[in-house]
């Protein structure tokens, strides 16, 4: 079979000469059972290997597998490929594959005018219209008029292609996504080799299934080639990425690798205490597979136990991590406070989702910022690191470990559902270039002149206290959640000591700023009319919008915060150099409130709370609006 396929690699003779595109957005949509995530991932991986820059966004159905064919059961995967450096999975798809009426209904609203729409016409029948809550056949009511519609009998054609196999109809039907993929490979002139190889591996134990899938994909390719169904064919050339070895990675995988790297670079065993919750669970799943890296994953009875087990492991000298989403942070806040008080290093991971309460578990949001900063009783400062892209989750995770271990503080890693599930090419780092995090423990030599060990003696530079792990002779000491006397660590109700410790805990976090570098301004560092400022996952959309605005001749700069506590030291300075600051946030203006309060600078919030990311165009429009106002 492989030989058959290799005939059809993206370079072979097809009738239609491919039109060159620089940037394409494709969305695969179907029922949860239709394998859309797999289809999308395969197209992505092939494109990555062909050298495109890319960005993806899966859109899972909410929580429960709804009955086949219904609206809540729709699963989609969007991928954007380009021949230049891109930052988001794209605002609107150029191509939509809709495997059934429900998929059409939930996705057609986003398709670009005149976009390509591929329908599996076998599924367009009464029973499915009803499930999708269509009163009439959407193909007949004019609603698809503005698109280039290609109706294909995907189900029938797939069955026919597999007629000779031993498979039953159900198994045959499972291959129809590969038929669709074959069509898209043809349309974008891509090789099928990678997918063929992958199928071979994946179904190594079921060669008939592998063969059927490959056959279906070939059939899809041939269908296009032979019938000339499409009048066009496209090609997207490789992007000029920085030289290096790349892989495609999503945010949670990147973070998981970052934590393993933190563990390796510190020489500490990694301990993860976690309780499953969307969209953080995959961190637990992934780390559970790294036991041979001396990684212990502990699925606790709840979030409280998860962080508490991590605190215990931190006390014992592990690199301790706990992963969750907003509702879990609510439960962990008492434990986080204990870590603050006992000054133990650990990383608390929050993959944000739509809130409040259970909210929108599968949707993205940035609305837990003030929660992670302030959601604990008393004055309880914690550093916060926010990754800005899927691949950046790796670096941000290493950075969180670095801060925790060097400064003896619990640190927040603040990602979101969009980063967690989205993917992009990641240039593999060189292990030796990662920070060296070794050498953390106090030893029996760290006694005072009078032979006493002071568990709250402070490092002159960082104010960190020593990490004196049980088992070290001579360092026996007691810690706990009551206020501590500086130095001895004994319980203290002394008013002045409490004030001192409050300030020390704050100052210790503030001093993290000494090691994080300045905020970089992209555009005009000297200042100007408008600065677009962001944090976290809005980076892509902001960068796209600012770049376009600049291309359009507007003078706009941008800056992106990765450290949300403490802020880079030059932040106030940067803000003061711009007349206006625009801050898009997927909340109602949380960071803006903080920056306004801290710097008394009028920051304009652009808020979006819809469970989905900003589009480039939304931000562009806002920039244009603000620049016009400024021109009055």
């Amino acid at each position: 079979m492989t030989s058959t396929a290799s005939v059809h690699d993206g370079t072979d003779g097809a009738d239609v000469a491919p039109e060159q595109l620089s940037d394409v957005v494709i969305r695969f949509a179907g029922d949860s059972g239709d394998g859309m995530q797999l289809t999308g991932s395969q197209f992505t991986n092939t494109s990555a290997i062909l050298g495109n820059d890319l960005s993806t966004l899966p859109d899972f159905p909410a929580e429960i597998r709804a009955p086949a064919g219904t609206l809540p059961g729709v699963s989609a995967f969007q991928v954007r490929i380009a021949d230049y450096d891109i930052h988001t999975p794209g605002d609107v798809p150029d191509v939509l594959v809709a495997m059934n009426p429900a998929a059409l209904k939930t996705n057609i609203g986003d398709l670009k005018p005149n976009g390509i729409l591929i329908l599996n016409s076998n599924e367009f029948k009464k029973v499915n219209f009803k499930k999708a809550k269509y009163e009439v056949d959407p193909r007949e009511d004019g609603s698809l008029d503005g698109f280039r519609v290609f109706e294909v009998e995907l189900t029938r054609l797939t069955r026919e292609a597999l007629a000779e196999t031993e498979l039953g109809n159900r198994d045959k039907d499972r291959c129809k996504n590969l038929f669709a993929l074959g069509m898209i490979y043809w349309l974008f002139s891509r090789t099928m080799d990678n997918t063929i190889e992958w199928l071979g591996k994946k179904f190594a134990k079921k060669p008939d299934i592998a063969a059927a899938n490959i056959r279906a994909m070939n059939a899809g390719w041939n269908y296009c080639d032979i019938t000339g169904a499409f009048q066009v064919r496209y090609e997207v050339m490789p992007a000029k990425l920085e030289p290096g070895t790349y892989r495609n990675i999503n945010g949670n995988s990147a973070a998981a690798l970052g934590f393993v790297a933190g563990s390796r670079r510190s020489g500490l065993p990694l301990f993860l205490g976690s309780y499953p919750i969307t969209p953080a669970s995959s961190l637990l799943h992934e780390l559970a597979r790294y036991k041979h890296f001396n990684v212990t994953t502990f699925q606790a009875e709840d979030e409280i136990a998860a962080i508490c087990a991590s605190i215990g492991a931190a006390f014992g000298g592990s690199l301790a991590i706990t992963t969750t989403s907003g509702p879990g942070i609510a439960l962990k806040s008492e434990g986080m406070n204990l870590a603050v008080m006992t000054e133990l290093p650990m990383v608390v991971v929050n993959i944000q989702r739509g809130g409040p309460s259970t909210g929108l578990p599968t949707k993205t949001e940035q609305s837990d910022l003030l929660q992670v900063l302030f959601g604990r009783n008393g004055e309880s400062p914690m550093p916060v690191v926010a990754p800005s892209s899927p691949a950046d989750c790796f670096d941000a995770a290493v950075e969180a470990c670095r801060i925790a271990l060097r400064h003896m503080v619990p640190v927040i890693f603040l990602s979101d559902g969009y980063l967690a599930n989205g993917s992009e090419p990641w240039k593999l780092p060189t292990v030796e270039d990662l920070p060296d995090l070794r050498g953390n423990f106090a030893s029996g030599d760290d006694l005072d002149d009078d032979g006493q060990f002071l568990p709250y003696r402070r490092d002159a530079e960082t104010l960190a206290r020593p990490w004196a792990v049980p088992g070290t002779p001579g360092l026996e000491h007691r810690i706990g959640g009551l206020e501590k006397q500086d130095g001895t660590g004994n319980v203290s109700y002394d008013p002045e000591n409490h004030e001192l410790m409050t300030h020390l805990r704050a100052e210790k976090v503030a001093r993290v700023a000494d090691t994080i570098g300045d905020l970089e301004v992209h555009g005009d560092p000297e200042g100007g009319e408008l600065l677009v400022m962001g944090w976290g996952s809005t980076l892509g959309a902001i960068t796209g919008a600012v770049n376009t605005a600049c291309d359009n001749g507007l003078k706009v700069s941008r800056a992106h915060l990765r450290h949300l506590n403490p802020f880079p030291k030059n932040l106030g300075d940067v803000l003061s150099r711009f007349d206006k600051v625009l801050m898009p946030e997927m909340n109602t203006g949380q960071l803006a409130l903080l920056l306004r309060g801290k710097f008394l600078k009028d920051i304009v919030t652009y808020s979006k709370v819809q469970g989905k990311p900003f589009t480039r165009n939304e931000i562009l429009a806002k920039i244009e609006e603000m620049m016009e106002v400024g021109n009055d």
């Binding site: 290997i49 790294y290 890296f293 492991a313 000298g317 007691r478």
Partner: protein
């Protein structure tokens, strides 16, 4: 490790003033623990005492070991993380009836279910001491306290029944002032592989004085307590009385008149049903059972965790970070 032989009780006394109310039963328990630890042949720096919040939970401050006075109810979870990541340590949890059975109930039963190798000592004074005397989940029905001025209405937990129900591999009971029995019971706990749960009746002379006087008063000690010893018949009251199994029911019998020790139930700490029955020996009808209700060997959590890690290392080799980062489909640019 040879120097451990020379450890004494004094080595386990910290420099902190002990701040329980004079007369509090916690003093006796502190003494018992400080007496036991030097005997165990474990280097001092390997001991960690983890506690929650409550009068009892101030315990770690008075022990010159590593100690962690954590937050209310969470000590078993913190100790689980510590012991799982550091199986070499000897981890003791000190908790109160409120700390462990009220706010901390879930962590307690999960630690026991997992059989993490931690020793949990629950100081049961049947009251909230630290917050000044509210009733607790082990207070008897009708208890008048600051929060129940006309008496509590919820039936208490039976801590032994609850922990057995959770699948605990070691469950025992002792009493603050029965010093020798307490030390012996704690020694059994210390030697048990896996989780050990010890309920210790503890007098709070401020908010719940005489809670256990029915048994601890000199006059009643013999008649109101029965000591469970593996392989020995259940005889008490100086040999005058015994406990007999009649069908599925335990009965108290006066010995003599042809009834001897031989007729009494022989205690078997591995029999789950007997343990269940013992939890139902309640005063005044029955003497209170003291000692080890249940002790069985079961897989120990942190050892299984370690074994899985070792297995994977054996199977896959120690992970290489370079390989991990570059796993999956990669491609080169430039």
């Amino acid at each position: 490790m040879t120097e451990t032989a020379t450890l004494t009780r004094k080595d386990f006394q910290s420099d902190q003033d002990v701040r329980w109310c004079p007369g509090c039963g916690d003093y006796a328990i502190l003494k018992a623990v400080q007496s036991l630890l030097p005997e165990l042949g474990i280097p001092k720096e390997k001991f960690v005492v983890v506690s929650g919040i409550g009068c009892s939970s101030r315990f770690p401050y008075y022990m010159d070991t590593f100690g962690f006075h954590t937050i209310h109810g969470r000590a078993p979870a913190i100790a689980t993380g510590l012991k799982t990541s550091r199986p070499d340590l000897d981890v003791w949890v000190i908790t109160g009836d409120g700390d462990s059975m009220s706010i901390g109930g879930n962590h307690l039963i999960h630690a026991l279910r997992r059989n993490v190798g931690i020793k949990i000592l629950m100081f049961n004074n049947r009251i909230y001491g630290l917050t000044k005397g509210q009733y607790s989940p082990t207070s008897e029905v009708g208890k008048r306290t600051s929060s129940t001025p006309v008496g509590s209405i919820d039936p208490p937990f039976n801590p032994l029944a609850l922990t057995l129900g959770a699948g605990a591999s070691f469950v025992a009971r002792s009493v603050d002032i029965f010093q020798q029995h307490l030390v012996d019971t704690l020694r059994r706990a210390a030697e048990h592989r896996g989780s050990a749960f010890v309920e210790i009746y503890q007098n709070c002379n401020i908010f719940n004085d005489h809670a256990f006087a029915y048994m601890t008063d000199k006059a009643n000690r013999e008649s109101q307590a029965v000591y469970l010893e593996h392989g020995k018949p259940l005889v008490f009251n100086g040999g005058a009385q015994g406990i007999v199994l009649n069908g599925m029911r335990l009965e108290v019998k006066d010995l003599g008149n042809g009834l001897t020790e031989e007729d009494c139930l022989v205690w078997d700490e591995t029999n789950p049903l007997l343990a269940q029955m013992a939890t139902q020996l309640l005063p005044p009808e029955f003497p209170t059972p003291l000692g080890v209700l249940r002790a069985v060997e079961q897989p120990v959590f942190e050892q299984s965790v370690g074994a899985q890690i070792q297995n994977e290392i054996d199977r896959q080799g120690t992970g290489s970070l370079e390989e991990l980062l570059s796993a999956g489909d990669t491609w080169k640019v430039g």
